[in-house]
Symmetry: D2
Subunit: 137 residues, 4 copies
């Protein structure tokens, strides 16, 4: 498959993965940026953005980065993901996830994601995840 552009990826995400609140903001050379809106439903005790919201943002950013690289393959699935929570995100700010791929193999793709509270420079979390992609016969 050829590499899809931003509009194709946004359309794909909206039709194939309507459950996600994430929006693709940018697909540039080597980096994908995704925004996860944050509302009261995204919080946890202590008034901060919940871990699973951060993990969801990272997972979608990885998925989009992989599709941007290998083409619109909906059956790419996460096999492993590791997250380090670095700083407390602010309750009132969206989460931005920036992903670049570390390795695109024949069956496994590994990517790294930095997560930010929109407008803040220091990352709130850092993720490394692996996706398995179906083997093309």
């Amino acid at each position: 498959m050829s590499k899809p552009d931003l509009a194709s990826l946004q359309h794909f995400l909206a039709t194939e993965f309507p459950q996600t609140p994430c929006l693709i903001e940018a697909v540039t050379e080597g980096v994908v940026r995704v925004r996860h809106p944050v509302g009261p439903e995204s919080l946890r005790p202590g008034g901060t953005v919940s871990g699973p919201v951060l993990m969801a943002a990272a997972d979608v950013a990885l998925y989009v980065a992989i599709l941007a690289e290998i083409g619109l393959e909906p059956l790419a699935v996460t096999t492993q993901l590791s997250i380090n929570f670095l700083r407390k995100p602010a309750a009132g700010k969206d989460i931005l996830a920036e992903c670049h791929l570390l390795k695109t193999g024949r069956t496994l793709v590994v990517g790294e994601v930095s997560l930010f509270s929109a407008g803040d420079a220091a990352p709130v979390a850092h993720v490394v995840g692996t996706y398995a992609v179906p083997i093309k016969t």
Copy 2:
């Protein structure tokens, strides 16, 4: 703080963490079991339960296991979490998360969670996570 019982934990989760759909099913010697209901909003492309739903179930199970051990401390926060996705969960089954703690330290608690599609014996995912707990002065 003393160790809370199941009813106290259920009440705590409902009042302090209303955003979570998770229900605490059991708090027995060494093991906590949490159920994450699964509906259409929990799915991803391929008709399976999304990774973030599994991560959320594991994170809540860890949180509850820690509270069950150290007392109702709402400010315990995840510092690190690693998930391996083992088998494809069925779309129509709730997710059960069973957690036991590996180590309860003064500032860090590490726990392990096995995730299942309700009714199935083989785990769909496996998590190890670390929480930081505020130091008691």
Copy 3:
């Protein structure tokens, strides 16, 4: 390939992986136990067993558990490994690594390892690792 027995695995490890100081102690139903001798060269500042020695013990235990399951495939390679250090190991005790597999797939195998200072009940570390195995055509 058929499942090898303890003697075959010990011979394989000695001939194919002479660099490792690890010894296979047991290969029983579902669990492999490996011993990593500990001497002064295994220590780090603070007089405890170094992290890399624990990681090496876990990695060999995983490798042996996989070979015990799928047969003597020397080209199985680690793709991902996560370790949590739980308790300080004693300087004078060997490290025991006990591994059981979480999932044996067609291309990826995931296993879990608990690491102990020989003679102590509480694990000093916990590992989850993934190996890729060559696809049989």
Copy 4:
């Protein structure tokens, strides 16, 4: 403690951690580079550098990066480490580990390490690790 320079760090590593074969090559603004020599004892089946050698290189790079930041604190210990193996390292090349810190907290420090076969541009492995540092009273 003040931030030590390269010579102080090299001296510290040689005296406090004589077990490690690693050499500190550079300590520049934000990045530490460490070299792990590779010989026959570093290999594994398949003629490639063993996973534990890569993990050791990363662990020492993290340790040095942390000491460079917080001062010569020998009791900093690894609490968690995750490694993704990306490409097969060449048997005859030393391993270079480049570390930068993601977050320096009061009790936990998180860093990221890229590992290379000396002379090659694409990383052979990627690590994220956490160290606990004793609380200064």
